[in-house]
Symmetry: C2
Subunit: 360 residues, 2 copies
């Protein structure tokens, strides 16, 4: 079967032919429909993030998948179910306490593999197998866009952690700012509007109009903030102090500028993964500001199956126009280069491995 | 009656004679027993923090009080009740939403006065009056040490906010480090041991042995960490990664070094209030570390009456030796200079305004 993988020492995705996997007991065989492409894939391809499976010289890419069960293998899943897999797996199959309690997203480095990223093959292949516990059934209506469940689950978890940090007092947030107008930023913006019910939304980018992401931001009723004109720390002066800041840029200074952007009792959810970078901060003022206004910064990575569930539900609530405009391209396996192209007209792309045919 | 106040332009506390206050309807008249001295008082005296009441050229000091009700004024309080007052009051008597919901500790600047600190006279006087809603009855056994309820309530709130930030997943913290061996640090250490049940405790200071704070730290079963030898960021290498860091130094670099001291999924509660100070940080690495290990930093200021209640309960649970050794001096009004002295043998002092006599 066809897979899309990155080979050691090559800086680009390639189509490789591999054996179709055989499910073991308790495993489900899934026929892949679509797999999304995202920033982490580019990091993995460039060799900046992730690791190859032990003893292998290639890594099958892809961690945002939707598929159809081909063989339920005696589990609760039946052939024809539309499913989305989670990412993290116990390394060497040894379940640790984080997997035992269904919170693998809280496992530290070394206590998990991530399919398509760290130590385990991903989903960019015609078929994949997985333990049934790492699979979520989603409505057939999500067969086309179900590959967005995984990235949206990342937003769900980040917002959940941030909100939990404000749970020891009455917190009635009204304003939120998403830093970053990539696909994660836009998915988060739609989630904050359609599920979390924020009244006033802002989204930060550095693009000139006309731009498809700015159009989506404004169509969602949010205010576009051009960070070249209005730095993050200036958002309160230019607009208003922000109750929830969701950082999805990976630009390290944003983590610190977020403290200034927050309203009293506000929280910043940090999701980006920057490289080391030394710079000067007014650490005294930032520290004081965190304390005197009860502000918080909360880092968040990965997500667990409950976040996938909430994301699938949220996705079903998003307007059709949003998903249509967010997904700027779906490509066949023979169009790898196009699927992995990333220019100003690209928001979110996916590779299609097979067609979904509704059950009769 | 005698009061201890700071006058405009004078950098030291003075004894002033003032009229004994008359309680209005709904107000309670309290005869003051003891009022603690703490770091905030020194900031106020030096003119670095707080503000004088409108139209006044002096501020009565003191925000850590315990007293006895002299006249309940028709409220639920009766003469003889041992009571502790909270700090924050609605400015100009105008209750805003934070006071309405009993969460004045979450009010931003401008929405509160703080007795003895910001815009309202404190408790260092023979008598004070206060609205009954800002008064907590405590057991008569706390008549001597009830002035510790307020500082301990600050620790209770900080730990509560930090713990809340970890409430969206299973968090079973075992190790905690308190940065700072002042009275707040030591009270927090005792609280983490006797109430929160942490197994392994560390407390940071910069003192040589023999030292009374190090003795208390070790008597509490905690490990003393000399920050001159082991910087905060080196605690994991020297000891272990820490689940909860409680910063009570006001040293701005500690806020950032805390991120490195934390175990995965750990949280740092920031309580100190530093001055502006620019310095270099590896912001990229710190940001990445927060994200990839789901770490959090939570600022915390002030406390509300529920935290006072929890603090009074905690104080009753502390061993007697701890309180005896924490309170290094109780002075009369005629010994102001001694009460406000702060050297290496001083941990916590208080001024005594009257004696408690048990009800018959």
């Amino acid at each position: 079967m066809q897979t899309i993988a990155v080979e050691r020492g090559r800086g680009e995705p390639a189509v490789l032919d591999r054996e179709r996997p055989e499910p073991a007991a308790g495993e489900v065989l899934v026929r892949t429909l679509r797999v999304g492409v995202d920033g982490t894939d580019f990091e993995v391809i460039a060799g900046n993030h992730g690791e190859f499976p032990a003893g292998e010289d290639f890594l099958v890419l892809g961690h945002e998948a939707v598929g159809v069960v081909e063989d339920g293998g005696g589990t609760a899943f039946s052939a024809g179910d539309v499913v989305v897999p989670t990412l993290r797996r116990p390394p060497g199959g040894e379940r640790n306490e984080f997997f035992e309690r269904g919170e693998s997203d809280m496992a530290p480095a070394g206590k998990y593999h991530e399919r398509g990223i760290v130590g385990a093959h991903g989903y960019m292949s015609e078929y994949f197998v997985t333990d049934a516990e790492f699979l979520l059934e989603v409505p057939p209506a999500l067969a086309d866009v179900g590959f967005l469940v995984e990235p949206l689950s990342i937003a769900v978890k980040g917002v959940e952690l941030a909100t939990a940090s404000r749970s020891s007092f009455t917190w009635e947030p009204e304003s939120a700012a998403v830093l970053g107008n990539g696909s994660l930023g836009l998915l988060t913006l739609a989630y904050l509007k359609h599920v979390e019910g924020y009244d006033r939304l802002y989204c930060l980018g550095r693009r000139d109009r006309p731009d498809p992401t700015i159009e989506i931001i404004e169509e969602l009723g949010a205010t576009y903030v051009d960070s070249r004109e209005t730095p993050v720390s200036e958002i309160p002066a230019a607009h208003e102090p922000i109750d929830l800041v969701f950082e999805a840029t990976g630009y390290a200074k944003h983590a610190f500028e977020t403290i200034d952007a927050l309203a009293p009792n506000g929280v910043g959810a940090l999701l980006g993964v920057p490289e080391p970078w030394e710079f000067e901060v007014d650490g005294g003022r930032l520290h004081r500001e965190l304390v005197l206004h009860n502000k918080a910064l909360v880092g968040s990575v990965n997500s667990r199956i409950q976040h996938f569930e909430a994301a699938a539900e949220a996705l079903s609530a998003f307007p059709e126009w949003f998903l249509d405009r967010l997904v700027t391209g779906v490509y066949g396996v023979d169009e790898v280069a196009a699927a992995f192209e990333d220019d100003d007209t690209t928001i979110k792309t996916a590779v299609q491995f097979s067609e979904y045919e509704e059950r009769r």
